[in-house]
């Protein structure tokens, strides 16, 4: 039955036409959860009873002519980093035992107002501090296509829930790539809006100046629907995708292509060829200090995370998973002068990304340098050398958390083993809707059928 509605946009039309009911699709999602969640560890909390009540209410309202919009009656999952009133927000950590949220996060309230069916809270890398989902008090979330592998992270349970048909979309957070990395690893669309475009209150922080909230879903059109709800604006009427021909993209080379798995590089090259064939102009652009992004990211991110966790690290150090505790502890040793240097570096990078965007409609690069890694792997082999998994996974996304530019990951092919590969588009700050329109125009050419 769910094959008839692959995306939110399709499901919304089917619900409006009474071809499907929200109760039917919610039950289908709950069935998928019951079947696979025990092995994939996708959800930390399933809200089955609540979701069924919300679905029946949505069906009644739609039948009575009171449809609220394209999310009405659509099953959505949430990373367990978002407050839902009366429920614990675990952040996948024992540190949060006993927590109960006093109110909904602003974005949760907006999803409720839009009529979404909130089906459950998904697994994540503890406190969102990691790219693989391995360090979780609830065990590692696993990739639906190959459970020996990570679905990416930190919003790994979110991406897995969408890929496995447990939800039509998920809401995640992205501090260094935590929406785009799992979206790329799972063959989905993941959108990180401009810094500040979506409110963060009621979301457990990681880095005060790099946290973003956004959707993981199956299409760019769905990303636009979800973004409109998250930022609290009404959705415009559905429109056909704009034309790709005549668009001009800045292609990022050097640092951005220096460390790519060969199959990722091959899929990305093929996507570039399809774009050229569709009449898209690709011009080389440079971010001269991109090679400094890792150093800048780690100084800002770990300093800010350590500040948030310092008191708890002193009181309950053993309640963190060992790796996350060590990462947070390391941040407590960063010198103020180096944090300030990193802030200066942020301004340099921001200006360079702005300049690169000045000559084109958007920037194009890979989203994730490697396919979904094996769980437990500390390094991956690329170009004859062993590289740390975490550094490689952050390499292509963290820059845009530092600078705050909007960025969207979308599938661009697969490896010989069928593991998804993702591309990434980046737009000017504040031009989220323009970036989504660009991505919608290019989606048929970037993402092979």
């Amino acid at each position: 039955m769910r094959d008839r509605a692959h995306t939110i946009a399709e499901l919304s039309r089917a619900l409006a036409a009474r071809e499907l009911t929200s109760e039917q699709v919610t039950d289908a999602c709950l069935h998928a959860i019951a079947e696979r969640n025990p092995s994939l560890k996708t959800f930390i909390r399933v809200l089955a009873d609540e979701a069924r009540v919300e679905a029946r209410q949505a069906d009644a309202e739609i039948a009575a002519g009171r449809a609220r919009g394209p999310l009405h009656g659509v099953p959505i999952s949430l990373k367990d980093l978002f407050d839902m009133r009366g429920l614990p927000t675990t952040a996948a950590s024992r540190v949060r035992e006993g927590h109960r949220a006093a109110s909904d996060a602003t974005v949760v309230g907006r999803l409720r107002t839009a009529g979404a069916v909130l089906i459950g809270k998904t697994n994540l890398h503890e406190f969102a501090l990691g790219t693989t989902n391995e360090d979780s008090a609830f065990g590692p979330a696993r990739h639906p296509l190959d459970p020996r592998r990570s679905p990416g992270g930190s919003s790994g349970g979110s991406a897995a829930s969408v890929l496995a048909g447990m939800a039509y979309a998920s809401i995640g957070s992205d501090t260094g790539g935590s929406i785009r990395i799992p979206a790329a690893a799972c063959g989905l669309v993941g959108f990180k809006p401009t810094l500040g475009a979506v409110p963060l209150d009621g979301v457990v922080p990681l880095s005060a100046t790099m946290d973003h909230v956004g959707p993981i879903c199956r299409s760019v059109e769905d990303a636009q629907i979800l973004f409109d709800v998250l930022r609290g604006l009404p959705s415009p009427p559905p429109a056909p995708p704009p034309a790709a021909r005549g668009r001009r993209l800045g292609l990022l080379r050097e640092y951005f292509m220096a460390l790519l798995d060969p199959e990722v590089a091959s899929a990305f090259d093929a996507a570039c060829a399809r774009l050229r064939k569709a009449g898209v102009e690709l011009v080389d652009v440079a971010i001269p200090h991109a090679g400094d992004s890792g150093a800048i990211y780690v100084h800002i991110g770990l300093s800010e995370a350590a500040a948030y966790h310092a008191a708890t690290l002193d009181r309950r150090p053993d309640d963190y998973t060992p790796n996350v505790r060590l990462r947070l502890e390391s941040g407590r040793y960063i010198l103020a002068q180096d944090y300030v240097r990193a802030l200066s570096g942020r301004e340099v990078l921001r200006a360079e990304v702005d300049a690169a965007l000045g000559a084109c409609d958007g920037l194009l690069l890979s989203a994730l340098a490697v396919p979904a890694p094996m769980i437990g792997a500390e390094t991956v082999r690329i170009g004859g050398s062993d590289e740390p998994v975490r550094n490689v996974m952050l390499r292509l996304t963290q820059l845009f958390n530092i600078t705050g530019h909007p960025a969207i990951a979308l599938p661009c092919g697969a490896t010989a083993d069928g593991l998804p590969v993702g591309a990434q588009l980046v737009g000017p700050r504040g031009a989220d809707t323009a970036l989504l329109a660009l991505a919608r125009a290019l989606e048929p050419h970037i993402s092979p059928a």
Binding site: T209, H289, D292, G294, A295, I296, V298, H299, L302, P322, L326, R327, E329, S330, Y333, I334, L335, D338, R341, A342, L343, S344, G345, R346, E347, V348
Partner: protein, 62 residues
């Protein structure tokens, strides 16, 4: 404080706290801090090699 001195102090303190496993993280952080300090955007208090010129750069660190 030089990076080498910072690393030495950090490792000693972590050992004292029973966290010797921090050493590889400190070594990675030391490499990152070195890269930051070498970066060509850093100001120079002598004013002779300051890329932004003397005084405030007017940048916004938010």
């Amino acid at each position: 404080m030089t990076i080498n001195l910072w690393l030495e102090n950090a490792v000693q303190d972590a050992d004292r706290r029973g966290l010797p496993a921090l050493r590889p993280l400190f070594e990675a952080l030391a490499r990152a801090s070195s890269a930051l300090r070498r970066a060509d955007w850093n100001p120079d208090a002598t004013g002779q090699h300051d890329p932004a010129g003397s005084g405030h750069s007017g940048t916004d660190a938010r």
